[in-house]
Amino acid sequence: MAAHVQETAFDFSAEVTSFQASIKDSGAVVTFTGIVRDDSGTMDHMFIEHYHAMTEASLQKFVDQAIAKFELEDALVIHRHGVLKPGEAIMMVATAARHRKDAFAGADYLMDYLKSRAPFWKKEIFKDYTEWVESRAQDEEALAAWSQEPKV
């Protein structure tokens, strides 16, 4: 189980290869990759600010929670900060479990936590203006749903 925060790009292929090589009992591996999207076609780049002293411990806590909740064999989170161009990968999650539903749920749960509870803030830098990305009500709702739903 690992959680990394870094400014540099990560190598998704190498990360997943090493993640998969380390698992023993899992029949299912799920990955998620978040990519900078430029819906308007006019974004120059995204800037991700983070709360350094809090970030890695916070990610590690979410990873530990996901592992316990979904009986994951392992889970990995990598999240970047700093300047990212459209098309670049912002972050990735990987989960491994005996059964596919747990691997999916673990990754989905981690994403819901990262969206609303990990201390990152995204700013979009356009040609003529900049804009902090606003949090979305549906992200809070997605997170809240995990406390209500019976485990699949």
Partner: protein, 83 residues
């Protein structure tokens, strides 16, 4: 007592700095915000709607009723947008 205060995202931009140490007698986060608001127009603007702001005390997400101790690290920021 002395507190280390951190600001992130547009809270940082409105306040005009990312970090400062303040001397305060604030008992809770709410008291601290009242103190900070007096420091200038940028602070007042940053804290105009505390419903739009989150706080972490010693790197743990907290609420505005959280009591403060000498040497605490208190961070203010808008809802997080990671992932």
């Amino acid at each position: 007592m002395k507190l280390d205060i951190l600001y992130f995202s547009w809270v940082r931009e409105r306040v005009g700095q990312s970090q400062e140490t303040v001397e305060t007698e604030a008992v809770t986060v709410t008291d601290l915000v009242a103190d900070l608001t007096l420091r200038g127009a940028g602070y007042a603007l940053a804290f105009v709607d505390t419903g739009a702001i989150c706080v972490a005390v010693d790197q743990e997400l907290s609420d505005f009723n959280t009591p403060l101790k000498d040497g605490c690290e208190v961070a203010f920021f808008p809802p997080m947008t990671g992932g």
